[in-house]
């Protein structure tokens, strides 16, 4: 017979009473329920779907390649399946459950109307290769969303197919490389600030560029003079996040763009933080050549525990001819065209007065349609006025947090003016060897998801707090109270924080052991 609960509890373990609670037989604690692995509770012969039994005598045309051995899958009936995943879900923190101020990740509320619209059969049950006459509505969604993105950013055009933010970065950098190569101008360097997301240097390196750092000023901004001094015929592009990863707007962005353009380079803006300025500032007015937009951040499509994302890239006139296939375009007769490899040259000649020199294709089919319908639903809901309010409330909430805590926590850029959508703190005043990690784990016990920690790299023990616009003042006030109390404990060197969390489904997990001897799949035990 199986042990009462294989997921962690063992009969000899007396571990559940570190807070004076009693040990239970099952390892469960009321609503906190342990759950075994699927492979420990399922069986190869169990199934939760009703299908005709396999007829072993049926003739097949599988080329003699029948799969004979066991596959190694197990099944559960529907009630067991629903319970398994419901129990697992309860070990997760989500926005629906509480405040999730993960800086740079923009954990805003995911409106349920978006989900409902994405599930309309006219969007959900349509094949990407159906004849164009049968998918006019889908193409209109793509085109309408493209129109919103272009207007909101003040840019020339948009490549819709990238699958996520990092994929969009790649798209933008590849457009830049293609544009440079088209004019016979091989350049080798992409400049990236030290505070950038890790995807920026990884993307530039992938596109075969050498990555060099852009220095920052003490106020947390790009050092304009140092940047100007570095620009030259070898610099293909600068990649700058704006607002930047310290949560600050780059006031010299226009000057940066002008200088980069004067030196023959392009300006890539990492649009991960576009939610701070949507409806308020158009990146096109700042001289941006390419910017990806994370639909799952600014436009509220769900993060889903790590994706799927969607990363359309808006482009300047100089880069538009190089965008990847496929794309959609509406002609004067109102028809929406889907432009794939075959039509690209003819269409460009006829409608854009020239050949299109697309750099190629980034993905099968046309992009993240399921995310497009959600994002468009969100845009239509908010409208131009609502989106402006979105940016204003996000920035207001972050500044409120910054000014409510700067007296107790080290806030490295508090003196350089207002922040944008996120407030940045550091751990330099913590006592007794306590660090940001300890405070973050204490935050878990207080019922909040921790902020982003140790990013950006330019601040010691960085804590990046992004409240978003979808929190109420009372929710933010409660968070401030908890954060203040944790900060005071950390500064006072409260040792108990080193062992937090105490009340989560798991205590601190041994990540070193996980990496030393990786166990990445379930294998049947010997017994």
């Amino acid at each position: 017979m199986n042990a009462p609960n294989k997921s962690g509890w063992k009969p000899h373990m007396e571990v559940a009473d570190s807070n004076g609670e009693s040990v239970t037989t099952t390892g469960n604690r009321a609503l906190m329920l342990e759950e075994s692995l699927l492979f420990e509770i399922g069986h190869a012969e169990t199934t939760g779907v009703d299908l005709p039994e396999v007829d072993p005598k049926a003739s097949t045309r599988l080329g003699g390649l029948e799969r004979d051995g066991a596959i190694g899958l197990v099944g559960l009936t529907e009630p067991e399946t629903v319970r398994h995943y419901t129990r697992l879900s309860r070990q997760n923190y989500g926005i629906d459950l509480g405040f999730f101020p993960l800086g740079s990740c923009t954990m805003k509320h995911n409106p349920r109307l978006n989900e409902k619209m994405a599930r309309l059969p006219g969007f959900a049950d349509v094949h990407p290769l159906q004849p164009v006459s049968t998918i006019q509505g889908a193409l209109e969604v793509v085109n309408e969303l493209a129109h919103w993105l272009i207007d909101l950013t003040g840019m020339n055009s948009v490549a819709m197919s990238p699958k996520a933010g990092a994929h969009g970065e790649l798209c933008g950098i590849l457009c830049i490389r293609a544009a440079l190569e088209a004019r016979g101008d091989a350049r080798e360097v992409v400049l990236v600030p030290e505070s950038a997301h890790g995807t920026n240097p990884a993307t530039a390196a992938f596109a075969n560029y050498r990555v060099e750092n852009i220095p920052a000023t003490p106020a947390g901004r790009v050092d304009l003079e140092a940047l100007k001094a570095r620009l030259g015929p070898d610099v293909a592009a600068v990649m700058i996040t704006n607002p930047n990863t310290c949560g600050l707007f780059e006031p010299d962005f226009r000057e940066i763009s002008d200088a980069v353009h004067a030196a023959g380079g392009f300006v890539y803006c990492d649009g991960a933080n576009f939610n701070a300025i949507v409806g308020k500032v158009r990146p096109g007015d700042l001289g941006v050549d390419a910017m990806h937009i994370n639909l799952h951040k600014t436009f509220s499509t769900p993060h889903g525990g790590g994706g799927p994302g969607s990363g359309p890239v808006v482009l300047s006139e100089a880069l538009a001819p190089f965008m990847p296939l496929p794309y959609t375009a509406r002609t004067a007769d109102g028809v929406v065209h889907l432009i794939e490899e075959e039509q690209a040259d003819d269409f460009a000649r006829e409608h854009f007065g020239g050949e299109l020199s697309s750099f190629g294709r980034m993905t099968a089919f046309h992009g993240q349609m399921g995310m497009f319908t959600r994002a468009l639903t969100y845009m239509l809901s908010h409208g131009a006025d609502g989106l402006k309010q979105v940016a204003e409330d996000a920035v207001l909430n972050a500044n409120y947090i910054l000014r409510s805590l700067e007296d107790v926590l080290h806030a490295p850029f508090a003196d350089s003016g207002p922040c944008m959508h996120e407030a940045l703190f550091g751990d330099k005043d913590f006592g007794n060897g306590l660090s940001t990690l300890d405070l973050a784990k204490g935050m878990i016990d207080e019922g909040f998801h921790p902020m982003t920690v140790y990013f950006p790299l330019v601040v010691h023990g960085a804590m990046l707090v992004e409240p978003t616009e979808t929190e109420s003042k009372s929710s933010i006030d409660q968070f401030i109270t908890a954060f203040r109390s944790l900060a005071e404990r950390a500064i006072a060197g409260d040792e108990s924080l080193k062992h937090a969390p105490y009340y989560a489904p798991r205590r601190r997990l041994d990540e070193t052991a996980a990496a030393r001897k990786p166990k990445l799949t379930w294998v049947p035990s010997e017994e």
Binding site: G8, M13, F39, E45, T47, G48, V54, D55, A58, T60, R61, L62, G63, L65, I71, L73, T86, L88, Q91, N92, I95, F123, L129, Q130, A138, D151, A164, A205, E250, R254, L286, H296, P302, H303, G305, G306, P308, G360, T363, A364, F365, H366, G370, L380, A384, G386, K388, V395, L396, Y400, S472, R506, R507, L509, D510, E511, A514, L520, T521, W522
Partner: protein, 458 residues
């Protein structure tokens, strides 16, 4: 506005706390040239749920819904029945509104699910280890090529002519920038894939050979000899699968010696969704290759009290740690689609997957035989799973597809759409069949096809 909780009183109080007179004081860093004097012009103002719903429904209504008509499209995206409980599970807010599990103590739900998903994928593919998913099959295919160049320290990839053309386009596009050399080919229209020809293209400089299984024409062939030939030259075999249901009936690529197995997971749990979001599957046969894999990996460990738990691991491969030296620039995976896949696969189990595969194949055989009776139509494949190629005598398949659509039948994917400009392929039509195909659908397709061919002959 229904998604914004702050009241005007709140806003006033908060501005006072901050010491700002008005909201624009917080946007002082925005340069003059970029300041706007109100909402962006040319876009509509906010709208009620009802109004938005009306608008979106109007757009949705302009599409032909696959489930409403006889439907036979595949070519990398398949229409399967998804059990009702899959959507119920993925709509739970704890899954839907969670982030990448950076704080494992409060993300065990996502992490355990990913560990189970990795196990399901690895076993389905006949591999040792699978990652926590990539964007989709085509990008997973490129990542496999890139990984093969890292493992072998060679940079020439040989692509089978029968690899999905979108996949080879993605690989070729990416390779332009990395300096890798890609040798591809057009598919040969014949009953059996040209494995000898593909084998002959492998040389000492080859990092990997990429082959689709079942291939773009629906053909199936043993990969064992190809694997041996690749290994002999120090190359890896990358197998690409776009229809995971097939692996409930035919041998896994891993058991035939493929080193990296990648594919599209959309068939299980995800739905058609006009092409995305889908689910990239990625697995390796040799556990030694794990540290060269792209994307997120979830691993088992223990917590401070010795309880089993799960974490993201081996992250020193990834961009947020390694920056420009990362194995890939990937940050996001396809988490919620991985959940949908895992739930559906749990409902199926080994028994259900085998039954589903058998039912797909049984119906595909019926359709193939019925269509072969239509004058002017011949079946190309000797072997197939649930998708095959028919040749239309003297008639461009694209026109037939369009005519069928006019008659309310979505009859397949013309190869001409996938390979524009290649004359030899214009008469080929790819037909996919799943458990959702009914006998009426089959009869309607056959009858309409016959009528169109006849009409054309007159």
């Amino acid at each position: 506005m229904r998604y914004l909780p702050l009241t005007d009183t709140d806003r006033g109080d908060m501005l006072a706390k901050i010491g700002a007179d008005n909201i624009d004081d917080l946007f002082v860093d925005v340069p003059e040239v970029a300041r706007l004097d109100g909402p962006i012009r040319g876009l509509p103002m906010h709208a009620s749920e009802m109004a938005v719903e009306r608008h979106m429904k109007r757009l949705a209504g302009k599409n032909t819904v696959a489930g409403d008509v006889p439907f036979f499209l595949g070519a990398g995206a398949y229409r399967h029945h998804v059990p009702a409980s899959v959507d119920t599970v993925i709509q739970r807010g704890e899954f839907l509104t969670a982030y990448t599990p950076y704080q494992p103590e409060i993300a065990q739900g996502t992490l355990q699910m990913l560990f189970e998903f990795q196990t399901q994928v690895a076993n389905l593919y006949g591999c040792a280890v699978a990652n926590a998913s990539l964007y989709d099959g085509s990008t997973a295919c490129w990542e496999a090529v890139a990984m093969a160049t890292r493992v072998t320290k060679k940079n020439r990839a040989v692509l089978s002519g029968a690899l999905h053309p979108h996949y080879s386009e993605v690989v070729k596009t990416m390779a332009q920038f990395t300096g890798d050399v890609i040798a591809d080919a057009q598919p040969a229209i014949q009953a059996e894939p040209d494995m000898a020809g593909l084998t002959a293209r492998i040389d000492e400089e080859t990092a990997c050979v990429v082959v689709q299984y079942p291939d773009i024409l629906g053909r199936i062939s043993d990969l064992s000899e190809l694997a041996d030939a690749a290994h002999e030259k120090g190359a890896l075999l990358v197998a690409v699968n776009t229809e995971p249901v097939a692996l409930g009936a035919i041998k896994s690529p891993g058991e035939m010696g493929a080193d990296i197995v990648v594919g599209e997971g959309q068939s299980i749990g995800v739905g058609l969704q006009f092409g995305g979001p889908y689910l990239g599957l990625f697995a390796v046969r040799n556990p030694k290759h794990v540290r060269q894999m792209p994307g997120r990996l979830c691993g088992e460990t223990v917590d401070a009290e010795g309880k089993r738990g799960f974490v993201l691991t081996l992250s020193t491969r990834e961009q947020h740690i390694r920056r420009e030296k990362a194995t890939s620039n990937i940050c996001t995976n396809s988490g919620l689609c991985a959940l949908a896949f895992s739930v559906h696969m749990t409902l199926l189990g080994e028994k259900g997957l085998r039954e589903l595969a058998a039912e797909n194949h049984r119906l595909a055989c019926l359709v193939a035989d019925r269509l072969a009776q239509v004058p002017g139509v011949s079946l190309l494949n000797n072997a197939f799973f649930n998708e095959f190629t028919i040749m239309l005598d003297g008639k461009p398949a694209r026109d037939v597809v369009r005519d069928l659509a006019d008659r309310g039948v979505l009859g397949g994917v013309s190869l001409g759409r996938l390979y524009p400009g290649d004359e030899r392929l214009q008469q080929a039509l790819l037909v996919a069949v799943t458990e959702t195909t009914t006998e009426d659908d089959i009869e309607t397709l056959a009858t309409q096809l016959e009528a169109i061919i006849k009409e054309d002959a007159q």
